[in-house]
Amino acid sequence: MNIVVLVKQVPDTWSERKLSDSDHTLDRASADAVLDEINERAVEEALLAKEAHGGEVTALCMGPERATEAIRKALSMGADKAVHLSDEALHGTDAVGTAKALAKVVGTLESVDMIIAGNESTDGRSGAVPAMLAELLGWPQLTYARSLSLDGSTVTIERETDAGVTSVRAELPAVVSVTEKINEPRYPSFKGIMAAKKKPVSTLTLADAGIDAGEVGLSGALTQMVSSAPAPPKEAGQQVTDEGDGGTRIVEFLSGKNLV
């Protein structure tokens, strides 16, 4: 069972996140950068599958040079090796371009049985890359998994969305995206940290992976951010003084929001 886990470095959700003024892309330098929490769960799920069925876990990351820290975290948790697609021409790549680039890199890897990704990153939040990647590879997509099980060459997930829970099954190879309910990721350990330093990380440029520079980057993006503004500060809540009509006024408030 050879599993590729997609990992992304994102600004820490605990720090202040900003967009750059010039091109409305994420200002990656202004915040602490971490391995996205949802990716920790994706790595955990891959490690559990490996522990149960054998094989190898490869972390695949597209991102600037600084993303090596996020890659090291995946390796220190227990992934066996990593591939880092890093090229300045990737700056500003949108979801479609990202999926195209990742599909090319997956094509350079030998015998991949399954790709596990987070369902959406905490920065871009398009939530589209796993499905797009499956489409480009011609593989089945099993998205929003809250549980995953493997049986021979079949993968089954419980897919949980606002619409409810469904059981989805597919033949491998397949792409699975996981939600935050899938598991509790393990912490790395000092031993894992030291082991990670010796694990192979291959760094690829666009040319190495055979990616057409015209399909990625800001210029290749099919979507464009034309303006951005910081979210308005939270407004103070509305205070209702109960003058004997408290119950009525609460119902009025709730029905005004279409909640009752």
């Binding site: 971490v34 220190s76 000092f190």
Partner: protein
């Protein structure tokens, strides 16, 4: 506000990232409640042990991580920022392992160090006695030689982890003139921890007297030969004081972070209170105290890592950092005003936790004595 650190290696960077994850997700959310109810967080030490954080400065051959003090202390600082009981506990555990690491024989290290550093056992340090606090050399606990080893009788006090520790690094008198260091198993018959002291802070961790009544300790548990106990104890304290300095900086940083967040958000007279110079300067002084204290312990740690003498510098760091923690936590309560005096915010707890830092592992008066005597060439 995350502290920006200059770290020398990728493993130090990764260790600090791991520590911050654990501190943020596992320690900080539970600290206030556990301190209020007095529940010792045994499982948190298990977690730190599994992550390999309970044995950072010790040799890899025995299950340690062989990390420089500079890295270990910054890990300790981050943990203390999230939960002081756990930070102080880690520092005490590390100090309790020190005599065996430095003065034990190969056979002794082979036998006990693995489990002490493995993360599933917790240590305590038993030096003080009711009549021997700052004057540690006046201790009266006796270890009387008999056939199989020693029978230990006496009363130790102010034992952090008393009753919950798996082993005690204990100093006792093997003759009228000689103090010796013994590694005592926590389950030794005749060894009993008294009921915990009622303290103003660090209430999540028991501090007790330890009563020994003819407790049998095998001869092979003598560390460093008879008569070397006081020297070993003082050497361990040199390194232990660096740990306390790091704990103090972590606590002060936590208080500063709270004060800063509050002072930015709280408005009076139509503006954030941090825009009033009275508070702005107060917070600037807090930052200066935290920053200089951190620089002081890091300098002492680098001396230790470089193999230079560092006892005086460790005392300076302990003195500077713990006085800074007392001042910064007190001022944090002031910045928060009435809110700071309530248990709705953690700063009143920080202030209570800071006080003991000026007292244990050598009072700050003793630190001045150590510094002064070293300068005088005594």
């Amino acid at each position: 506000m995350p502290v920006e650190r200059i770290l020398a290696t990728t493993e130090a960077t990764d260790l600090l990232n791991l520590t911050k994850d654990i501190a943020r997700n596992e320690l900080a959310p539970e600290a206030a409640r556990a301190e209020e109810t007095g529940n010792f967080p045994h499982e948190k030490f298990e977690l730190l042990g599994e992550a390999g954080l309970l044995s950072l400065p010790y040799p890899e051959a025995h299950g340690g991580a062989n990390q420089p003090y500079e890295t270990y202390l910054q890990v300790l600082e981050e943990i203390s920022s999230a939960w002081m009981t756990v930070g102080v506990g880690l520092s005490v555990h590390t100090m309790s392992c020190y005599p065996l690491v430095e003065f034990g024989t190969d056979a002794q290290r082979e036998r006990w160090l693995g489990e002490m550093l493995g993360g599933h056992t917790l240590g305590a340090y038993a030096l003080s006695e009711p009549q021997a606090g700052s004057d540690a050399g006046a201790l009266r606990t006796r270890a009387e030689r008999n056939g199989a080893g020693y029978a230990v009788t006496g009363t130790k006090c102010w034992i952090t982890h008393g009753g919950v520790a798996d082993f005690y690094t204990l100093m006792a008198r093997t003759s009228e003139d000689e103090i010796s260091c013994l590694l005592v198993d926590g389950n030794t018959p005749g060894l009993v921890a008294a009921s915990p002291e009622h303290k103003m802070g660090l209430t999540g961790s028991p501090t007790t007297e330890l009563v020994l009544d003819g407790a049998p300790v095998a001869a092979e548990r003598l560390i460093g030969g008879e008569g070397n106990g006081l020297r070993i104890a003082l050497r361990a304290l040199d390194s232990g004081r660096l740990g306390i300095a790091a704990c103090a900086v972590g606590l002060a940083q936590a208080a500063l972070d709270q004060a800063l967040e509050y002072a930015r958000q709280r408005t009076q007279f139509g503006r954030s209170i941090i825009r009033f110079q009275g508070l702005e300067f107060m917070i600037a002084d807090m930052e200066a105290a935290v920053h200089s204290a951190r620089a002081t312990y890091l300098d002492a740690a680098r001396r230790r890592d470089a193999g230079l003498a560092f006892g005086r510098q460790a005392s300076v760091a302990k003195l500077v950092a713990t006085d800074a923690a007392m001042k910064v936590t007190t001022d944090a309560v002031q910045v928060l005003g009435g809110a700071g005096y309530t248990t709705d915010f953690p700063v009143e707890r920080y202030m209570r936790e800071a006080k003991v830092l000026q007292i244990f592992e050598g009072t700050n008066q003793i630190q001045r004595m150590v510094i002064g005597r070293d300068l005088a060439g005594a």
